[in-house]
Symmetry: D3
Subunit: 324 residues, 6 copies
């Protein structure tokens, strides 16, 4: 390939001297000043699904400087160079993407295994089947109002279900499990369990700022000062009043939200005092743990232990491989 | 005194055989059935400011059976008898009190050292002096709407300030202390501290059921399932929306309420993240402790240790007497 | 009824003066000596499904003194008397039951809602379906060898599933739940989960001494000094060697047993390091909690809170009644 | 400016190639040996109020090598060079300061907002006003004997009040707050509170080695092995005996010191058992927290969160800016 | 035996109706007032080595009322009666003992297995053999000054070595063990270990009030407010200054005392930082535990478990009997 | 020395440019690829008793690449070069050692102060002296079968006794101490204590993989999933059955092993319930602590504090130097 040709290769195939062009996710970007000459430059880490690489842009236009940010996908052209024995991309040009670029987000960020629109509809069925009108009204009002955001919000910034559409996916798998367990533990109010499952984490959409890639840049001020549990309680209060729900139903739903982390040090000021809240807690923590376990197993070779994972209480997980 | 005369003596002066008549506080009352003959009777513990005594009523009218309850003041006539070597009152007649009886409640239950009406007005001055209109509107709306209950509510069921008007008194002493400390720690927003002090415990009026004697019979359902901290957050949300307050002010006030117990295991899901919330925590716990310390010292002879008190972490307090 | 007639009434229908005869469960029995005359007597508490009552036997034969014990069903004849305003049974005659008495145990002790023999067969199907021969052999060997005891053993002395056949019932509901959850969490080895579920508590049969009523009188010496978790590990070691199982399979099964209580202070020296062990932990604790929750709800009136239950971390449970 | 001129600029204005001369605080200094040629050199970090910079001295005289130390102010002449893209000072000459240099310490280290001499006198008034002669004698003897050190000692090595004169300042603000709170909590012995406040941390002067800049280089051997609380108890014992104080007064003062950290894991083997000790604890911890809060707010822009601060239990503090 | 004869029997041989006379230990005594007639009486529990019994004295002389106290040995004459089916002693006469009564204390209270005088001398040998003069002087001064009290003081109010002379016995067994262990761990300063062992608990004599029977009635005021560890540190400070000891030796000895409980929550504000202090901790806790273990084994039949013992962290101990 | 001569110097005497040859321990070795040219090389850290140094081998033969590993001793020839101001060895040749090289392991790794063979025989005496045949048979069977490994196994991977032969040495010092303490605490079964001491850590040989240098590279799979305590219990079960030991003896030995870490969070699911187990715990922890203390003192100059050591709960240890 002549030096002037421009390759459309993946990051893990970059070779020194090559010129490349393509779409990349900006994982981080900082404006820096060179010690040597005092010139400003942008210091990037860019990524595609095959890996990431450091990149530098030396000619920083006013427009780029002011609007570039991490966690977006951009088009980049540049040359692969070596610096201190490591490959690096010297950027010639960077521009924002447009609709015409027709980017497939799934090539850049991880998404839930079921499409968000489908998850939304599957959950909607549970709401439609509720017998208690007050619960149905409250859940429905909150669920429908947030459809747009629900389609991309993750369930966490870093931990379990921190993927595009992760919040919906987390809710959906919990609903499926709830439905099965309620056949065995048949002394509970099914509506209350389903309503609790759907509502328990919805205020994460107010606790965290996520872009449409499902990447959370930071917690909101209100999220930091109050936490999604208190935010959820408030939300149910306002919507409950709007739809004129029975005060006792509102209180029970708020108790579900308030107690679902179970331990005070994890944010629940009260422990479950109704069976439905107890079950919600187990549905939540079990789904989170199984998500992390699956991820660890996938990242670990058979016969080996994974790295320690904070959200699994710093455990290393063993992949025992096929036992059959 | 002839046997038929009726004495108006205090409980600690009762003598066997005496007939007495007077007003007493019912501390407990239970409907029981005698093993011997299957007759129903009411088993009381009644009290005045000098002590308490067991009492029994054998002729139970339908009206009395249905409406009698503990923690009210009634007029009782009866005879002092001895049973198993202990004095007891055999009640002849019991009736509810009326306005004409002109009962002085302070003779039956402990009240705050300043009259409730006066406390209310003293606190009102702090509200009137607030510069931030949003905070003023929120605090004022909640404060004024609850005037009637505030005049008798205690601050707790059993612990510190569990006296008639204790809630107002607790708030007022905290305001006085806050005002002084803010002169030294002069980098904070005074309105925010004062608003936090006034609001922090107001939802105890929804958490606990108190009668007009300032005696709490039990926690409300909502109070048990949510706790006064979450209830306070909800209340500020609703009122804040009503008075059209700035969302950030609402959030800051809610953070004050949410964090004022400081430790998760005491009900605060977040720790103070603004200095005003940190100060509120200290004002609150210090006032509670000093209240309990004063009580323990008053109940203990110089040179001796008090009983252990649960709310002082099971410490026994030493009364060192006069040191001057 | 003439005084010589003998009634066959339930305990909650006993009347003073009545003579009665029937089968009763001995809940406790102590040999005592009367202060007054130095005579020996047996002091019982006896029960049927309607309640319990104190009972005394004054003529104690050598045979009865030596062989009578609590937690058995006996035939008793006696007279209802009143002592200190409480009914009591003065026993005239007590004898042990025989097969001909044809006692229906379910009238005296609580049993699992599914018959033990049926539960045994239902669990057996899971074993028969296992693909991994080593696991199947180990589980089968232990399961079949203990069939007789399994039919009556409870899962605990006092806590969850402390009923006749409770151990089998606990295992069976966990298997059903496991089967459902494994459809969602489909990256695990099903055999390993099922084997873990079946084995996890089986050594409770060596930790506790239960009679055929499913009532545990005490822990065995080995149970106290080692605990059922260590006993289970040893059992799998011995049986695993007997059936010539792969050492890695033995280790994995032992890890499942060892880690299923999760927390060191609850007896698990290691935390789960494979997803199957994590799931087993949740299946176990969730089933125990739901059992206790159901029991509390059943014992509590709608709109009220239950007593505190130790195994629910001293929580009181709220029965919200019908919400539909 | 020609290259040979010598600039008297602040560190944050250093430019490559410049020669500079001025007074700087040595924050650290290490004697090292160059790998290349085995020559010894001194590796400094020097600071003024605008920042700090790495500096190297290659010609190390015997005198300098032996007496140079960190946390002193010296006069330095040198040239600004760049090494690995960072500015650095190549020192030509360094000398110790003399009185004639007339250094203003406040330009190099942070001091209390009130002059130490004034703080000393303000505190002295509280001592002079004491009514209990024994307390007055003990406090006075310790206070006067340590006047010289008190004028510069900080209250901590790193945490709250780690500034020149910080110990006196900490004591003084606590005294002011104590005086105000004692008007509300008027059942205590004022002398005992004031004496406790003044004495509670004085043994930090024996626990830590501070130079006259108020910078603590390290803990003393005795301070490490015993801690300032035990040292304070001993000091009161010795001085109490010297001034012939009543044994009970000595014990009460020692209890104040011993219990003022409240929690065993923070060094208090007993909890407060007198109200004065309880109040002292709150005065102390509240003043420390408010000091840190003020510092964090000052270092944080409005609308942002501070860094985590260890002494605030790793909280980040939010600067809400002006709310009026 | 005629009714007028007076028996000198042990408590476990008392029979109804018998008149008895003898020496007994008063375990508790309370002045009470009879409900029936308002007469004062003294309510005792008295004991000898065979057991204890309730006793009542109805004619209470002024002298007896004022000077009688628990934990002394008195001479009692009275009649055995039965009340509510329990034996009780109706006292006719009680008098204090005199030297002529020639009471053998060991028949009433448990003492160390070696005579106190002998223990004192055995410990003295360790002091005499010390090479470090400062340590020897400090230890000797404290040890000799307290000889009289040491001969009867127990090491605790309730827990390990709560027997007459228990303090000396505890010290002595620790010295013997220390001497052996120091042969294996031969890198320590033997004098420092021995001095630490002897001093570590000596201030228990100031923390607790023991009578000459070795029975502790209560903690002293200073003991409660400061604790024996702080008292020990003070004592070493005063005596160390008196004998002009090296300051470093004083500090090391104080560190030994201060750290010997190891955990802050057990009263040690610092953890051992020298090997001698670490060893002292183990010597102390091991001797306490072994004392309690031996006691539990002695009180438990072979093949059985003891009661739970608080000082063994509520464990029940198993007596395995002879294994050979 | 001419440049072609080959020096046999110690690492701390290496000079730039020198050629050296000698035996070295490989502390770590990684196969890496150079960024510049894509060539493979081996990156070593090698050590002798005087220190360690980085080393690189650029010509990697297939045989070396496949069989080289850390924690072995090899013969190396190479040249000392400087890279980034640090000395480094450029390896020319590396070969495995043979018997003829006659390596003295003690020059490369730390060993117990008594020869392993001697320790083995000293411990054997304790076994031979046991009176209880069952214990003797169990201990002997396990001890003899593992003789070969015992001669080099350490007692830990990193902490106390992590030296060649450390396991035997740890057991031996504990036996000596046990023998002495049992003279004072003479109510225990000596055989049980000695058996417990010998068995308590033997399964560390199955928990960790150690090479013959006594260096542990990693934990075994079984060791990680079960831990040496559970492994020890299993081992005693199997061997106990083999030698037909009494079931109660087996249980007691297993209880000793199971409880010897005392705290659940350190791996003991049950606490000691027999005195012998309590003593074993103290013998173990005391020996570990004293080992670490001795090491810290040896590595620290008189008058100074050591670094913090994790296994001493992050304490720094003070070396007080000679006190005599």
């Amino acid at each position: 390939m002549s030096e002037t040709e421009i390759a459309k290769v993946c990051i893990n195939e970059f070779k020194q001297g090559e010129r490349i062009e393509g779409f990349f996710l900006i994982k981080s970007v900082d404006l820096k000043t060179a010690n040597a000459n005092g010139r400003k430059y942008l210091d990037f880490v860019i990524a595609d699904k095959t890996g990431d690489i450091s990149a530098k842009l030396w000619e920083v236009s006013k427009e780029i400087e002011e609007s570039i940010t991490n966690n977006i996908i951009v088009k980049i052209r540049g040359t692969v160079v070596a610096w201190q024995a490591t490959l690096q991309l010297k950027i010639e040009k960077v521009r924002f993407t447009t609709e015409e670029d027709n980017i497939n987000i799934d090539e850049y960020v991880q998404s839930a295994p079921i499409k968000s629109e489908e998850l939304y509809d599957l959950i909607k069925i549970y709401i439609d089947d509720m017998k208690n009108r007050d619960m149905q009204n409250i859940v429905n009002a909150i669920f429908e109002k947030n459809r747009e955001k629900l389609l991309y919000y993750p369930a966490a910034k870093k931990n379990h279900h921190a993927i595009r559409g992760g919040l919906l996916y987390h809710v959906y798998t919990m609903l499926v499990n709830a439905e099965n367990l309620l056949k065995v533990y048949d002394f509970m109010d099914n509506d209350l369990v389903f309503a609790g499952v759907i509502l328990h984490d919805l205020s994460k959409m107010e606790e965290m700022d996520s872009n449409e890639l499902g990447i959370v840049s930071e917690y909101t001020l209100e999220g930091t000062l109050l936490g999604h549990i208190s935010q959820g309680v408030k939300k149910v209060e306002l919507v409950g009043n709007e739809v004129n729900a029975d005060k006792r139903i509102i209180t029970l739903l708020q108790h579900m939200i308030l107690s679902h982390h179970y331990e005070p040090e994890f944010g629940s000021p009260v422990k479950p005092m109704i069976p439905e809240a107890e079950l919600l807690h187990f549905l939540d923590v079990m789904d989170a743990r199984m998500y992390d376990m699956r991820r660890m197993i996938n990242e670990t070779k058979p016969g080996e232990f994974s790295e320690k994972l904070w959200s699994l209480e710093n455990r290393r997980i063993y992949n025992h491989g096929d036992l059959s």
